[in-house]
Symmetry: C2
Amino acid sequence: MVEHSGPDVKFVNKYCPSSSSSSSASSSSSSSSSTAREMKILATLRGSLSRKYPQKNGEVLSAQYGINLLLVGLALMLALAYQGPTVTEETVLAFLSTLMLMQLLWMICYVARLERKRNAPPERDANAATSWIRGGLTLLALLSLITDAFRVGNYVGYQECVSPVLGVYPVVHALHTVSQVHFLWFHVKDVIKRYETFERFGVIHAVFTNLLVWSNGVMTEAEHALNDHKRRLSAVGSFNFTDWESTQPNCNCTTSACSMFSSSLYYLCPFNIEYHILVSVLLFVMWKNVGRTLDQRTNQKPASSPLLITGSGDGPFLLLGPAFGLLALASAITVLVIYIIHVEESLEARHAAISMFYWFGIVILACMSVAGAVGLVIYRLEDWPMDTAPNPARTLDSKLLLGSSIGSWLVCWCSVIAVGGATNSPNYRWANLGYAILLVLEKCVQNLFVVESLYRRRREPEERGPGLRATHNSILSPSQGNEKIFAVYDGIINHAYESPDKQCENDKQAYSRNSEKHVEHSHGHGTPETPNRQRQLLKNIAIFLFMCNISLWILPAFGCRPQFDNGLEEASFGFPIWSTVLNFALPMSLFYRMHSVAVLFEVFRKI
Amino acid sequence: MVEHSGPDVKFVNKYCPSSSSSSSASSSSSSSSSTAREMKILATLRGSLSRKYPQKNGEVLSAQYGINLLLVGLALMLALAYQGPTVTEETVLAFLSTLMLMQLLWMICYVARLERKRNAPPERDANAATSWIRGGLTLLALLSLITDAFRVGNYVGYQECVSPVLGVYPVVHALHTVSQVHFLWFHVKDVIKRYETFERFGVIHAVFTNLLVWSNGVMTEAEHALNDHKRRLSAVGSFNFTDWESTQPNCNCTTSACSMFSSSLYYLCPFNIEYHILVSVLLFVMWKNVGRTLDQRTNQKPASSPLLITGSGDGPFLLLGPAFGLLALASAITVLVIYIIHVEESLEARHAAISMFYWFGIVILACMSVAGAVGLVIYRLEDWPMDTAPNPARTLDSKLLLGSSIGSWLVCWCSVIAVGGATNSPNYRWANLGYAILLVLEKCVQNLFVVESLYRRRREPEERGPGLRATHNSILSPSQGNEKIFAVYDGIINHAYESPDKQCENDKQAYSRNSEKHVEHSHGHGTPETPNRQRQLLKNIAIFLFMCNISLWILPAFGCRPQFDNGLEEASFGFPIWSTVLNFALPMSLFYRMHSVAVLFEVFRKI
């Protein structure tokens, strides 16, 4: 969480160590002149505590600040969730507004400082956030601004009976959103190397402010889900639900648009949530980049290869993935609409809707698993070059994918246990089981595919060249010093630690038949066509998975949550435990899908 | 969670790439001979999926396996916690026994395989687990074995009415404990480089098996705590608690020792819990080491300096830390006994006991914070060499410290909010506030101190030598290629990225007075005495913090949990939320203290 995952960055000045070394090491000898010593201690402390605080401690200190900020916010929200007398919604919103204003102030300071030193712009991490990601972010921010406008509208309608904080918060949030998007567009790639301690705290403050606003949104969503659940139960007749409108203020709306505002807010909320978590991730990468040394060789924007756009085999091939993806998207929206309508009808319609959801899920997850597996097999067959340069953005992407899978995996295993031990057997019982197991499998395969894709490097035109010879040449001439070419064989040879000669023999045994049989082919018919076809296949897979992940985000984000409605898990775990599990797991699952979408788009562009 | 934090390990064989490269790259050209191609694909797949699966994917795949294993277990335990019909205690214990037997089988395979290849022993990571840690582990394992014996005794007494699984589980657990301790003593330092995929899965299986047994223990403990809480409430009279003995079986004990067994189990349980979490951590380091390349220069066991044992200034100095530490320990045990007796008496005695706990906590935490801060100041003043060599054990140690702080920080902030918004004001209200804030502060300072200590390197005798000259020489002769010497100045100079000349100027400005004033001292009176005195001070601090952390582990581990008893937080958060928070946070907090003890001991030995 706190450490650089690349090799530790060394802050070593080889040019003038003498002055500092003598000043500090001299402390060991000055026992006579005590006042001079005290002055020295003070000077050293002042120096080391302000600007020269060591990297590692700066990291730990700022991480601790951020974590505690988050925990204060979480504690406030927990108290709010209890609806006790201690904390009201106004307290939480005021706290969040304060944090956002502090972030605003820091961003202004940061930009102003950069302006003053225009002649020495900071280095930039080319991998940090592509313009596509920032574009998507801007879209989400726009929807977030609409949310703010509706919130203000809602406040104006009810302003007689609600706290002014409810009006101030959306205004501050809108201000924060606009300036944050501006900041991200122009500064998220910055690699901060001056004034590290101050900047570190600023960035981590921004990260955790966004995380807190995200948590607040998630809590609101959880309330929505609970209310939905109760309303549906009362619609089916198994629950007497009269107070589900208790979240409304106690006075009448003075404008005519209040109900429109509140129902629109229900549908806009998911975008606002995704906006904040995405910003957190981008800013976290910026924080990891503070004080980092960039490797100039690897930190180059990948030139968009002409083959990418007008490749020889692009035309007919880049149709299947998008076509199936669009089909999945359209079906998902259909399923969503049918589900939401039918789940509030009679018990039979409800069961039919839940069954439909599970069967749709089984089909789409099976397709996704197969697509991911095909992608992995292609990587196994084709030895694409590996990219092992340090890259905090990529490391974080893989960790986040794995970490956010945990939520829905937990739900899946709970479902499996619930289905196994269920006493009643509704018609969707075994579909639920299949869906749960396939979901575990699909996330495993997709994670493997994404991680493998992220760690593969796009082949340069000369590497791709006419068959093998170019590659061979570069391998057999280590004098070029291009170690990366060797990494090409990561996928095949990973036993460099055995004695070289022995390894040679092993490999030769394993591959001798193949190489003997095919080496003449490669020299004879070697054309760039076939790897290009495989690239096209991978591109199709990536775009298909991209669309499927959007579909699987839409379903739970807009109210299709059979985990609440099917009753099997609730019977095995009880409502308190099961709703806690879902409130923990569903936001993670939504984040997983959104993050997969972003990463798969990167993969698509990279292949 | 999954990535190597050091530089990615490259598995590159530079000596014979030709055979594999030709075999795999040839796939791009063979479009004519389809059967030969299929055979080749199969051969490549077989090769790449078994032994030659790439490092990154092996990591992700095994991590996913481990996480899902944990989640299955957690889902079972959640179902058990609900006490519904789906899952009984026997299911969970049978699941855990199966996992332990699988791990046993794997360990036997691993050891047998190593025996067969005795001539080529695996490399060993000198930093992985010192013999001290393994010694402590063995002690915990012995207590764990006693627990097992008592469990078997308990089973024999009740065997008429309980499932045989309750008798089989402790036997399997004892077998598992003995063989695991043996395995850890002889193999935890192994750096696995052959059969990676199989070993990776075995190690991760072992990690998560121990984590699951830990979770099970934590759940039992949470039950204990809840029962304690109810019994105390009923003792004070505010709660009618008749069914707290419901955890006992439904028949009479046939031996006379049953009540002795069950009350002893209550006190032995914490050690069993700590044993399993410690094993998980050690095995996790082993998993991170799979396939790692060791840097031979840094992977040397630090020779125990004679100064450590019979240093010049050791005698009088190494008294204060242990003395104050023992005082803290003795007071903690006194507080524990008084607390447990008084908290079940009248309401006034209860309030007095809680007050006493908080005031004791405030005193000890204040002392610890001051000690940690003094340590940090010493590091700032004295430029000890930095150690930045890759070291998974250390990286994990720092991350675990930070991660496990989260639990008690959350509890603290909840306490702060509860105190702030409390409607009634018992006499311990403000003591609770002070305790919470000091606890946050103490953990921050201690984390900083530990991380800083871990990343400092012990100075070699020649570096420590007579004054400055030796150091100066090595700095001014980069031809020695010893870059680490430069890292000495990490603490002081971390702005190497500014242009060198400018940096020189800055540093010279900052330090000019000091260096001018003191450089003559250092040449005149340079003796090793003063840094040694500072080393002694650091050693005292480490041993004091070590003992204090033991004290703060003992208190909650043996039933001194005022967070349950004081009622303030419960009023603000409600019993369901607050007990969930505590059940999540207390195990983390206990782990934090135990882990701090282990790490501080390392620090003590290292300084």
